[in-house]
Symmetry: D2
Subunit: 343 residues, 4 copies
């Protein structure tokens, strides 16, 4: 048996990570790999770490090349997924690592992306309540943004159980450079990024803002307000989301911890660390895991919740495969690395 | 003419940075250099970049060895400064890079440091209102903590002018590894720090908390509440403080910017960047400068203010020399690097 | 079925990498994990990336604790393996990642290690001619040094086929910091290693010298002379061996390439890259692979051969498991990552 | 007093380093700054660390804009200097950081650069015998290549005194990313360079080959043969040249060390380190210094000589200013940083 999967965007970082994971997946065979500008060249030129796939020739990203697969993973630049997806058969499982189908509110979409809203697909964050049922019964999956997953996993339990207040949430997402992609720009050069930390998308302008708010609103059952700032740090992979929300005066720290234990104790990939141990991105490099910790700062009357994950694995490609597993009826953890590469 | 300065803690990172700056200072000659465990060895063994000083032999850190200098810079581990300072002549300018004399509230000191409060010295952050007058008339200076300077410079103007609210301030300080010192610990190994971002002192426990609150309370003219989380990032130097405070509803973004312009337009070392440009720590490596930017996130009803500086220069040794210049009656910028080393 | 393996030195870098690989090995179960100073603590404290093993309690490294396993992997500091190995049953497969049993010449051992020679075990570099036969029939394996594997794989084919001259070989091994271990020393701090390249063990003093010569002498069928210099570079993992040897005047570049193709075309883990593509350590991070390339510099009358590998994987723990597979009669590639984590 | 200098290529890395140094030079004022694509924009956009110069507007690189200065520093892409220089007045001191005028052998030039040879200018490596006299009497200076300076300083004394043999020299130059410039290319992205070491220009094809040979031939008084391989390492700045040459059998190690002492004891910027201490690039970041060490590997019958320097400072812009000082009759060390920034 075995499903076949096509990967669009195979020369980029998300595409490469999809292929790395799929290469070890026992139930999915890698079919056609496609890209834009690098079509026609060997995959090994672009992804030299994927030695078993080095000789695959990259096809052009067209619906025709992607059809005839059980699964199509899309790891494409913003705005290219919708048109392609429309041409793909309704029976094909389409997993979009891009943003096109993440937001349910068309107005939020238009405000942040400036294009017409393409629609909303079931959301590829299985750890959210209700998500597994939705993902088990769909042929279309929208994989969350990497910062979004980190902030959501950090704050969800506390908001869902009414221990954290939904107003005035603040999050800072320290991220590695691979999230910015492989297209060369001066500020992404090694010379510029090594030795420097710098914020971007400051003041609520980053496109992950509405998506984080969407998830946290679901959690809290009421609208949230959020200040989110991403910070580029000198590392290739990893997101560390440092999040803080007001702690309800009537709650206790042990209630907070219990909430996180309840939500995450049965999860395979989200690990609430032992008390006193804080997440580091190095714990998660190459693994489909997230490490979470939470505490209360009584002086500030705020809880501080931190999540670390690999932006390309649990933050993108791992989440895509995890969600696809659910849609295919496979065990959720199939083929997913549970262990990172450290140091 | 020319003053002579002794440097205690010469084998550490702050001591090395003091010597780097003093080596280029036209009015201060480097006298005795002292340390603890490395006394008796050549400075070049510990600070191989300070080639002109390579053959200096490190003396033991004692009051006797430090006496007979016009200035004594102390770059010592926590809690060693007070006893030494007491033995030094009242006419000697003593500049302490440690924490012993930073806090004015003895109870805050005892809560965070667990030892009796040694006292309070004029505070070496000349950019704070009133600081220059104090520094111009003292023989004792307490140099601020590195995170403290970054957060203070980011938020001061907005709080001082009543545009930012004092309650519920949140700051995340992304910092390089040199702030953790040169004493080898497993989590500070290159293998552990490269490729990883990790928080520490989470939940309001970091000792810079009371000092930040002290400065921001002075700015706001009323008590502030603060959630501050430091994050270790894979770079040797630099602090990026991403700070957010609630924006008073009646204020406008242009008022906010004007406040920062007013406070910083005459400063030699604090640079409000052009609108749309955000601070990066790489702008400040090796320079006694801080880069600042501020904006309003209307959706979150918060201002976001960011400051970048080099934790060893403007964050420690540069601030020490800048303050010493004022105490000596020298032009404030004397001998201080205005330009960083990039890339 | 399924073998059980004990891992001694489980809190260190090589031990952690062994556990990472074994955790994914279908035929080997992880039994007792042991260490020295960290005995009694949870493995998760030392190897937080190994989440599935986080709650394992580390036992003390004693022969008694290691006995009762089919396989014992030793990842111990220099000189501890011999005594332990002697106490372990002759039927137990003992795989030593340390140096104790690598050298066949007692005098070389004593010159470089200063202790009596413990003996010589079959050598865990299956890609060497004859090695697989030896490894298939042993209960004792000496895993090569990481630099040694890189230099050997770079030069072996050219020497074995008489195209490269055995005199006056020069190799420079640029290596990441994890090779220096997890024991904290000042020069290994992140502050010191980031942004710096520095040689060590210069002048033929590094202990990998006699081992490289041993392998190259086997290849050439006559004694070689070698200048080898390791260089520490700011990366956690990886070795890049840049090797050069005189090119026999009567040989041609295409003969050289053919020699490498012949030796490596059937290898699962050693990849001769397409002409014009040069190895980078990033191609191999976390994989049990080595990337090799070779060319001729006619002006210098030398061939330049380069090999890249991950010092902890193909350079240590991967080689250990690969060799163990052979000794157990399993397919050689079982459980070994063929694909690295990049970027 | 007071010369004025124009800097062409002001938005690049070498141009930025020239401006950093000139900003602290007591006898040279910065005049016009020019560039190609970034002409018309503020310097601060491209060199945000140069805060005192942030508002300078970049002019276009034309002879007209560069004229009317006492000194013109050219930090331009390959092949643009010659035409510009021709248009500049013979009385103007023109210092070219590019390659156009470095080689004296037109055939070597054409082989490596593929264009007609523009000529040969006095060579800006004052530490070479005879160089100071030439530089003191010229209006045209060719600044050496960065790898070239490192390898030359490492080997010169041993070759000049006949202790090292000129045949079969091997050098590996580990270099930071800034040497590859600021023009964005995929392989120079932070995501690609962090965590990876990779050779380039292998097999004698790098353009610094003929220039190194030229210098070493001068040193040895006879032709040399050289295998040189550059290796890109994950750091923004720095070159570590690990060089080895055959040691003449009749020489002694102490003769070798004496040769280096003789050549470098009076040098301000080249430091022979104490025996047993090896150069690290971190010793030299931002300083116009080179650190050198040498030893003999008796088993290999080779000497190993290592030099570390900052490719942008002593490797380019610092050498340019040092040479300009000589041409202007200023003390050679004027305005040049003798101390690096570490850690």
């Amino acid at each position: 048996m075995g499903y076949t999967a096509a990967v669009a965007g195979a020369s980029g970082y998300a595409g490469g990570e999809l292929l790395r994971i799929l290469n070890g997946h026992p139930d999915i065979d890698i079919g056609t790999v496609t890209a834009g500008g690098s079509a026609g060249s060997a995959l090994g030129q672009h992804q030299p770490h994927l030695t078993p796939l080095a000789d695959r020739v990259i096809a052009e990203t067209t619906a025709r090349n992607l059809a005839q697969h059980d699964i199509v993973f899309l790891a494409l630049p913003q705005g290219q997924s919708a048109a392609l997806a429309e041409e793909l058969d309704g029976d094909t499982l389409v997993v979009d690592c891009g943003a096109d189908f993440r937001l349910s509110n068309p107005q939020e979409w238009e405000t942040y992306y400036g294009t017409p809203h393409a629609g909303t697909w079931p959301y590829g964050l299985p750890e959210l309540p209700g998500a597994r049922a939705q993902l088990g019964d769909t042929r279309r999956i929208a994989v969350p943004g990497c910062h979004v997953t980190a902030v959501t996993l950090a704050l969800f339990p506390g908001l869902a159980e009414g221990i954290l207040e939904p107003e005035d949430i603040v999050a800072v997402g320290v991220t590695g450079t691979s999230g910015a992609g492989k297209s060369p720009k001066p500020h992404l050069l090694g010379s510029e990024t090594m030795g420097s930390a710098a914020p971007y998308g400051v003041g609520g302008t980053h496109r992950h803002n509405p998506e984080i708010r969407q998830n946290l609103t679901t959690a809290a059952g009421q609208p949230v307000s959020l200040s989110f700032t991403p910070v580029l740090a000198p590392m290739p992979r990893g997101i560390l989301a440092t999040c803080t929300a007001r702690f309800r005066p009537e709650a206790t720290p042990s209630q907070l911890r219990s909430a996180y234990q309840r939500h995450y104790s049965d999860e395979s990939f989200v690990h609430l660390l032992p008390e006193g141990t804080w997440p580091a991105t190095a714990m998660t490099v190459g693994a489909n895991t997230a490490a979470v910790q939470v505490t209360v700062d009584t002086s500030a009357e705020r809880a501080v919740a931190v999540a670390a994950l690999d932006n390309l694995t649990k933050g993108t490609a791992g989440a895509a495969v995890q969600s696809a597993n659910l849609a295919l009826g496979l065990p959720e953890t199939t083929g997913l690395p549970a262990v990172g590469v450290a140091p």
